[in-house]
């Protein structure tokens, strides 16, 4: 418990740094917010008017102070592109991204870990080659390409999948609920019809993302398994006459999981922010596309809010991974 608090306290300087750097970075970016939002027929006066109303005419330290004070009240500012408070938008959109990313990650783990283990156990076999091909393809095919390809084949040509219209089809009503995860909210509400609708919407984008996440997980599982399988305690276990599956799953896999879990954390946080293109193709109302739209329009507040949210998530995620590592590996517990 003390360790957890200590770790959290250690994150505070990082977050302060993030706040400062994002603030400065968004100001350094070329692009004139006021001119952009003044509209096509803006006169110099109306641009100045907008600048004043947004506080953009103030000196930078004053702007920063205002930002910090607002942040202290939990106010992330207003987005100009969507016209809504940034906090509401992030709260609404984060679950969408998180749900998609989690589904993709679970799918990826379900395929990549067994694939990696098999590839390591049967090194040089056909499974190993399949693992290599899948990993290479997953990394080298850009997500928007796989996304469009999946849409083209499974929606456009075959018609097996529903229209890529976002989280729910146009006629379904979103479930009332608190988590914002439609798959969980619908089940809590006992609405199996909407659950199926939400599930069918998430399949294609989750597959697209999973394909991308497969590679690092499969490769790291394979490498880590190979190292462990070659170690002395596995040889001892084999020599003691333990069965193949017991050696591989109970002894080797557990020890090989440590780097895999670390990579999982990285892949998750990476996917959460980087699935912009998947969100675009599938009209997924997630946080990545929100931030990119804002960036293109030089809309400061959402960009700052996005980076801050991601930083906080990253800190929490790393903490979670560390705790998980301790659970898996007794040595990690002792060294702390």
């Amino acid at each position: 418990m003390r360790a957890v608090l200590f770790r959290l306290a250690g994150a505070i300087p990082t977050l302060c740094g993030v706040v400062l750097v994002t603030f400065l970075l968004t100001r350094v970016l070329p692009g004139d917010t006021a001119t952009y939002f003044a509209g096509p027929t803006a006169s110099a006066e109306s641009i100045a008017q907008i600048k004043a109303s947004l506080g953009l005419d103030l000196p930078l330290p004053v702007q920063f102070w205002r930002y910090i004070v607002a942040l202290g009240h939990g106010d992330l500012g207003m987005s100009l592109t969507t016209g809504q408070p940034v906090r509401t938008e992030i709260v609404n959109r984060l679950p969408a991204s998180a749900e998609l990313t989690l589904c993709a990650l679970i799918l990826a783990i379900g395929i990549a870990v067994p694939l990696g283990v098999l590839a390591a156990v049967r090194q040089g076999s056909i499974v190993d080659h399949i693992c290599r091909v899948v990993a290479t393809a997953g990394v080298s095919l850009p997500v928007f390409f796989t996304g469009l390809l999946l849409v083209y084949v499974f929606y456009f040509l075959l018609g097996w999948m529903p229209a890529p219209l976002g989280r729910l089809d146009a006629f379904a009503t979103p479930p009332p609920g608190k988590t914002g995860f439609f798959l969980i909210d619908t089940l809590l509400a006992g609405d199996t019809e909407t659950f199926r609708a939400a599930l069918s919407q998430i399949v294609l984008p989750a597959c697209t993302l999973a394909l991308f996440a497969l590679a690092p997980i499969a490769r790291i599982t394979r490498a880590s398994m190979l190292a462990v399988l070659g170690s002395e305690f596995v040889r001892t276990a084999r020599a003691s006459g333990l069965s193949g599956p017991t050696v591989v799953l109970t002894y080797a896999l557990r020890n090989a999981l440590l780097p895999v879990v670390t990579v999982l954390g990285m892949v998750f946080s990476f996917l959460l922010g980087a699935n912009v293109l998947v969100e675009k193709v599938f009209a997924w109302p997630g946080i990545g596309s929100y931030a990119v739209e804002a960036l293109i329009a030089s809309d400061y507040a959402p960009v700052q809010g996005f980076v801050l949210t991601m930083a906080i998530l990253y800190v929490l995620l790393n903490l979670g991974i560390d705790l998980l590592n301790r659970a898996i590996d007794p040595r990690a517990r002792r060294s702390a």
């Binding site: 952009y36 003044a38 592109t81 016209g83 609404n92 456009f156 219209l165 009332p176 675009k280």
Partner: protein, 531 residues
């Protein structure tokens, strides 16, 4: 509020299910529209309102008068800027001295709040439009609607506008999506002290229009439901409209082709061409009035302050290639016209065509053989069209000794770049809502040097012609001035027109009643789904 609605619905459901089944909009009464991005506000008068907000103004609010709908082709309707039909005003009369107009409001019109529409509401809304700043105020000023004193609520149902000058654009300006009427009492009651209730109206509709906004999730979806008490026209056939924001154009195309969307806005020209050629989807193509894609040449600075060089570029643009490879034929060519202009129509085809010999001769005369290096700027947001265009221009100009570097500028910076007035070459598109040549020339060629005068073209003779036409006392004078400035525009070529773009909308064959308005947003009031 929401919870209560849900609860009431849940409690009432077992008893009213049958009745509810009859009153819920059917799929034939529900339109599914897919677009790149939806409204960022509910208030078209507000600062920073994006293009789709025009649609909210059109469908959820009423103006005093509307442009008359006239057939265009293939069942598509367009409008006549000089002929009007009643909106909230049942009659209107311009005074005999031509210096004011009196509107009589409909007796039965009411806001969504059930309050009757009064002249007081109209006055508040017009005052707001001319005072709020930004685009709304500029657009009002384009029709010489400049200050609150011009607007008079004579009595509950009579409203008068006093003109500051005779301006042929005043009445047309009353039909666009800016001078719409708010429910002023509701707005003020919720304003929290702001005289123009900006925050409230940004997030809420307080109007009398044919549709209400049932739910609005910025960046995701906007749902409109019909206002059954709408009085300003025949009750719309559509009862519910679901407008989804689908950022990827490929996805929007797939949705319309598979039949999961009824209407798709904003596809790249290649997709519109494919859909139109395919024949399964109707593509409503209307050449955007008063609009062109153009290459502007900075006439204030070297090298293009030399008219011979501007003409040389005009002769060296590979027009045909641009039409086929960048625009995929989705526009009306604006090149290869006669030597002298005889009409008052705008846009019209300039006399230039692809003629590299003429271009070379002009460059030789202007530079004596010295090479020129220059930069061509375009907006990254319209790169689908502007980028291939730029590449083709670059290739072609290399042949006449002009070395062009392409510079793609992100949307947020593009207007800033135009404001600097230094870019030597710019590819851009301009369209004016009010379809008068002098309106276009005022913004793009006048020495007042607005942001749209991308070429920074300044010429006293041109200004005199434009000003003469804007406030011409009679048609003969007007026509003469217009002819003269059109000719001057062609001779001087600070802007080289490429084409008049189509406004394309893809829709299913069963859709009818599509109407093209100056704001280009879909009008749900007249759309019918015959499925």
């Amino acid at each position: 509020m929401k919870r209560r609605t849900v609860l009431t619905a849940a409690l009432a459901a077992p008893f009213v299910r049958k009745a509810a089944a009859q009153t819920n909009p059917t799929r034939a009464e529900t339109l599914i529209l897919v677009q790149e991005y939806g409204p960022n506000s509910m208030d078209m008068q507000g600062i920073g309102a994006a293009q789709p907000v025009n649609g909210v103004s059109l469908n959820c609010y009423d103006t005093l008068i509307r442009f008359k709908r006239v057939p265009f082709a293939d069942g598509i309707m367009t409008h006549d800027l000089k002929d009007y039909e009643p909106g909230l005003a049942k009659t209107w009369q311009v005074a005999s001295d031509g210096m004011s107009c009196t509107f009589k409001l409909r007796d039965d019109a009411q806001f969504h709040s059930k309050r009757p529409v009064t002249a007081k509401d109209v006055k508040w809304s017009m005052d707001r439009a001319v005072s709020i700043g930004g685009f709304a105020t500029t657009q009002m000023a384009a029709g010489s609607l400049e200050k609150p004193e011009q607007f008079v609520a004579v009595d509950d149902k009579t409203f008068r506008i006093d003109f500051v000058r005779r301006d042929k654009l005043t009445m047309p300006d009353m039909g666009v999506t800016i001078p719409f009427v708010f429910d002023s009492e509701t707005a003020i009651a919720n304003s929290g002290g702001d005289p123009w209730a900006k925050d409230y109206l940004k997030n809420n509709v307080a109007g009398s229009g044919a549709f209400k906004v049932e739910s609005w999730k910025p960046g995701t979806e906007t749902i409109y439901t019909r206002n059954d008490d709408w009085k300003c026209g025949p009750l719309p056939k559509l009862r519910r409209v679901i407008a989804r924001d689908i950022p990827s154009p490929s996805t929007r195309r797939a949705l319309i082709e598979r039949g999961d969307a009824d209407m798709s806005y904003g596809l790249p020209p290649k997709d519109f061409k494919d859909l139109a050629d395919g024949g399964k989807i109707r593509v409503a193509a209307v050449p955007v009035p008063n609009a062109i894609w153009y290459v502007a040449l900075n006439s204030a600075n070297p090298p293009f302050n030399d008219v011979r060089l501007r003409q040389a570029v005009a002769w060296a643009i590979p027009y045909e290639k641009i039409m086929s490879a960048a625009l995929f034929g989705r526009g009306v060519p604006m090149y290869g016209g006669p030597e002298t202009n005889t009409g008052t129509a705008w846009p019209f085809p300039f006399r230039y065509n692809y003629n590299i010999e003429k271009a070379k001769a002009l460059v030789a005369a202007a530079t004596g053989g010295a090479g020129i290096s220059t930069t061509l700027v375009f907006d990254a947001g319209s790169a689908t069209i502007a980028e291939p265009m730029g590449v083709l221009v670059q290739e072609s100009l290399a042949q006449i000794g002009i070395k062009v570097e392409l510079n793609k500028i992100p949307g947020a910076n593009f207007r800033g770049e135009l404001n600097k007035k230094t870019a030597p070459m710019v590819i851009n598109r301009f369209g004016g809502w009010l379809d008068w040549p002098d309106y276009f020339f005022f913004w793009n060629y006048h020495g007042k040097n607005s942001i749209f005068n991308v070429a920074s073209y300044q010429n006293k003779d041109m200004d005199k012609l434009i000003d003469g036409a804007r406030f011409a006392p009679d048609t003969a004078t007007y026509d003469a001035q217009v002819k003269a400035f059109l000719q001057m525009g062609m001779d001087e070529v600070p802007m080289i027109p490429i084409c008049q773009p189509f406004h394309d909308v893809a829709m299913q064959k069963y859709m009818s009643g599509y109407t093209y308005w100056p704001c280009r947003e879909p009008d749900f009031r007249f759309l019918v789904k015959n499925a």
